[in-house]
């Protein structure tokens, strides 16, 4: 016999405890669902964080139509998320995995959109320089910087494969790109040579473009052996 509670009091306490216990059993089942929701939301959050971060970094480098598409899709995603939140809190639907997965799919599409646009952007920046490099890479003037240019080319090319996640990354990209460009532009070519090389790069050079200056430049040193003639 407890010294503090009479039977009536004890019974009241037991009754209350039983109710709490019953409530807890019900609550135990919801926990699983909430935890699943939480996991799903965390997953979504991870991808959305990456997307957000990337988008913030590269938004200005994206084409306008891409931005419009992206933000339109993002608005839909936000709407879906708000609905899910409302269902979770207010309609006490702890299991939001389905809704969140749907959001996740939207997020993936956003990621794909951003990745594609970024890849395009990088290619657009990099391709002319790479072509130039390909033209001159074997020239004796380039020999001293060939390794550096190849390295820059390689690093810049790798930026295509993943969205930048930080300013540093982006700045690094920009810096390397600028270095790449600068090195290539600083190669000492006569203007007729530079023009000729550029035409070669674009595939528009003809015999007619082989003027005196160009031919002299081609015959200097060992350079002549580096050119091959190809017909049409």
């Amino acid at each position: 016999m407890t010294d503090t509670l009479g039977i009536v009091e004890l019974a009241e306490k037991v009754k209350a405890l039983l109710k709490v216990n019953a409530d807890l059993k019900t609550a135990g089942q919801q926990v699983k669902q909430i935890e699943n929701t939480k996991i799903e939301l965390e997953k979504l959050n991870t991808s959305l964080t990456e997307i957000s971060r990337s988008y913030r970094l590269i938004k200005t480098r994206l084409p306008t139509d891409t931005q419009i598409t992206f933000e339109s899709d993002l608005g839909q995603l936000i709407k879906d998320l708000e609905n899910s939140r409302q269902a979770f809190w207010q309609q006490q639907q702890p299991d939001q995995t389905v809704n969140l997965r749907r959001c996740g799919e939207r997020a993936k599409r956003l990621t794909d959109l951003l990745r594609g646009s970024w890849r395009n952007y990088v290619a657009k920046q990099l391709n002319p320089l790479v072509n130039l490099l390909n033209l001159v890479v074997n020239l004796p003037e380039v020999a001293a910087q060939r390794a550096e240019l190849q390295n820059l080319k390689h690093q810049l090319t790798s930026f295509q494969n993943s969205l930048p996640q930080s300013n540093n990354q982006l700045q690094k990209f920009d810096t390397q790109l600028e270095s790449f460009r600068t090195i290539l532009q600083n190669l000492e070519f006569e203007p007729e040579v530079r023009l000729f090389l550029e035409k070669i790069q674009t595939g528009t050079a003809t015999i007619a473009d082989l003027n005196e200056t160009v031919l002299n430049w081609c015959k200097q040193g060992q350079r002549a052996k580096t050119f091959f003639i190809k017909l049409g």
Binding site: G6, V8, V14, L44, R85
Partner: protein
Amino acid sequence: MTISNFKLFQCWDEKRISQVINPEAASVMPADFMATHAPFTHIKYETHPSQVSDTSETGLLNELNEYAVNEEDGHAFVVIQGIPGTGKSHLIWWLKERYAQQNSERDEVLFIRRAQGNLRSTLQQIIESGIFDDATMQDHLKKLKNATVKLSNAALEDMILNNLQVATNEVKLPEAVSPRERRIKGDIEGFLLDPQVRFELKKPNGPVKRLLRFLSSDLQHSLANQEFPRFEAGDFTFQGLTADKIKQSNFEAARLVTQLKASEEMRKDLTVFLNQRQLIDFAIGRTINLTGTELKDMFGELRRELYRRNRNLAIFIEDVAALTGVDAELMEVLLERHTNQVGLCRIISVIGITDSYFRDRLPDNVRRDRVTHHLKLNDDQSSTAESDLLKDGDAIIDLAARYLNAMRKDRTEFETWYNANYATPADLPNRCTTCPHQATCHANFGKAELETGAVGLYPFNRQALLTMYTQLDMNKSSRTPRALLRDVLYYVLQSHTPKLKERMFPPAPREVGSQFNPPSWPNLHYNTVDTQGGKDAERLKSLLLFWGNKDAYSVEINGERNLGGLSRPVFEAFGLPFIEGIPSDRKIVKPDPVLPTPKPDLKPLPPKPEPKPPLPIISPLVITPQIAVQRWLGGEKLRHYDTFARILLNIIRDYTDWEAHGVSRNLLDERFKGYSRLVFEGQDSKVSSNPDDYIEFKRSQELGLVLSVVADIADKDSDWQQVPGKVGAYMAILSGWLRKEEARIVDFVQRPGKNIPAPLPLAKLLMLDCVFQDAVEGRLSSEQASPEVLFKTVMANCAAARDNKLPPSKMNSEVHSAQWRSLFKGLGNQATSLRTALLTALNRAQGNSPNVLFVDAATGLDILRELKAKDWELGVLPNLKVSNVKVWSQSYDNYNSLQSSLYPVLVGERQNLEQSLHTLQNYLKGGTPETVFQTIRDMLKLFSAPPYQLPHNFNSRPDLQSSQLTELITKLAAVCVARSQEELLLGFSAAGVLLPEVQLYLNYLSSFSKLLQDVQQATERAIFDAQSQSNAGQIAEIVGRNYDETIQSLQSLLSKEAVSV
């Protein structure tokens, strides 16, 4: 002498009995008082200013009258001292009446009667006397009236205790000398503040009640005469349980009680401390809002006012103790001589004072120097409370005759006498003078010669009055005029007058009075009365014992046959047969008994023994019992012991009034188990080695004569029954010897051993054993609290035990405390034999028949009343070896077991009951029995229904009811709060039935409580587990936050600024 109509005659008026003798002495009218006043012929003067030649009351009155006319030095302070009931009041009243008659023109006479013996009625008398009615005294009158109103306040008990407590603090007392006094002074305030101490002090007959009886008449019982408003050592004998409670109280009370319990000296010292008059007077004065000083001022003012009116003051106070609280200051007023202070009237005061007041409250200097006349009405050398006034038989007769005379005429006749003739004694109305039976009555019942002439003593006679007075039980009464009037005249006439006409007066000896006992028969004559008296035998015994000579001798006086000293008309007057009695040819002389212990009345001499017969001629080889006696007297061994002892033992057994000595048959059988218990000095038979086992009779001529008679009786050839006068002679010899030896024989029987005193009368010991046995066996309850019901119960149980019909007790059950069970086991073995012994001890023979018995309820009830009065406290018996006599050893051992273990048993059982009650109340906490039982039903229903469906082993008991539980708790609680030992014992005994039922409920509730606790624990565990596993709320909150953060983060992307730089 021829008597015609003097039969069943009632010459007194029944209603006049209580008018003339008022036991409370409150409202006797002056005329009746003067009519019954017996003159005090000799008053003892302890102090007197001059030689006293006339010590009668008239001499004293004359003295006062002389003072009254002596304007120069008429101051008198007369103290009349005497124990209660000695006649102080009568003398003072009589003095007042006479003094007022002769001095009313000169004096204001104030008479303060004892009345109810309390201060309130005393103050009321002063108010009603009109002495303060003068316009100049109105303020004083108002103060007095206010004091009487205070005294009617119901809260007086606490007021007086509070004021006593204040007094211990405020009154300056002499410095404490001894360590004990210092301890008392240190602790007394806390002690008097303790609720339990106050409860004890306020108990009936406790000191506060006694004090209040002195103060107020609103209490039910007036103060007993012996009581003073004072504390007694016994007031502080706190019993075990009470003492324990006090010890849990405030520190001072606890400490003082511990010391009081341990030390008789401490109790006495506390009594002395609290009885200091400064304390009591302070407390009383503060309580009634009238201090002694104020009363003194009032009387001082009164004396000045009377002086201005050229009058004097005479104050007569029956008992100054009735003014306790203001008495000291009033005394100062009375002692103040008018010659000491100009403007005061002369004062004469006569005050009654009891011995104890004189000793304890009258200051030494007053006693020594200021009392002008100190008179005493009793002898203070006497060890008993006895009045000097009635030490003379004639004085008793004189006083009784005056009251009998007053009862024979209507009050108006005495009032006429009182008013017309100044109550001249010679003119007192006397009915005897006109009574047609006067001659017969006075000749046969006696008379007293008063101033008014001869007054008959009928229905008493001189012998009856003296016997009843001398037989007063000094434990209950005292030999005073008041006792003579109240316990003899009033009781006998008031109780038995209606019986006269019905031929039932006087009643049986034990019924005649309540405060006096019938005298013992000094002979075997009651057998004769039984035989000859038939249905009137008991009344005849009363007549012979009280009115007569306590014998049944029939003798002739002046040619008229008298029986037991009484003439035929006495018998006829009460409608009694004038039986033959025991013939005797002697004439008798009947002297008055001398008080206080009457000399043995001279009895008619028994017939002279026949001359000794010559020794028969026998063969020298045959030693007959007769020869054996002669040789034994000559110094030889006593032969034929068996014959002598056997016959003498039969005579002792048959002719001793064992009943009168309270000896039961079983005790008699036990002590006289075989005649070997009688031993004659020099007998030739073996004597027990244990001297406690036998009673020895020494070799003597007297015993020789007795044995010679026994020898003749034993002789089959003897013709003793045929020889005229021989039977009578033999009876006289045997009864004479028996009478002489009776006390010793009875003493032998009553004791456990010859040299071992009886620790208590056997019947009492057995009764106490059996009462407690019944209590321990659970056969009593509070319904048996009254001695009458208790007696019936105990006797019924005894009878049932004797007949093997007493149901076994269940008090050995585990539901009782270990102490109780231990006592139960210890007592159990001898219970039946003790109960049987008690039945026998209280059995009394109806008449002469040994087979017709009745139970002596009076003795049993007396024992039980005493037990009740002592609150069932068993006193400690002396340490004795009483193993020789079974009934003694059993009862003594049982008593000692009870006595020694009673207190721990009560404590243990009380704790046991309190524990049960506490446990029950704990179960019921927060609800009632009804709600608890409803809860049990509800919970069981809940447990069995979804979603819980809890399995359990608890069995519902529809037979247990909440109403019964309520009743049990009420009963149990009542026992637990019992304070007195009686209440506790009876309560615990009754709890014998109660406790098993209580246990049933306890088990039931305990079992259910256990179920609840189990469920509680299991559920709490489940909740803990669930709670430890589940943090749904927290997770949900996290999820919510995640939602918000994610959404906010995404929304921020849609703003124009959402670009990282």
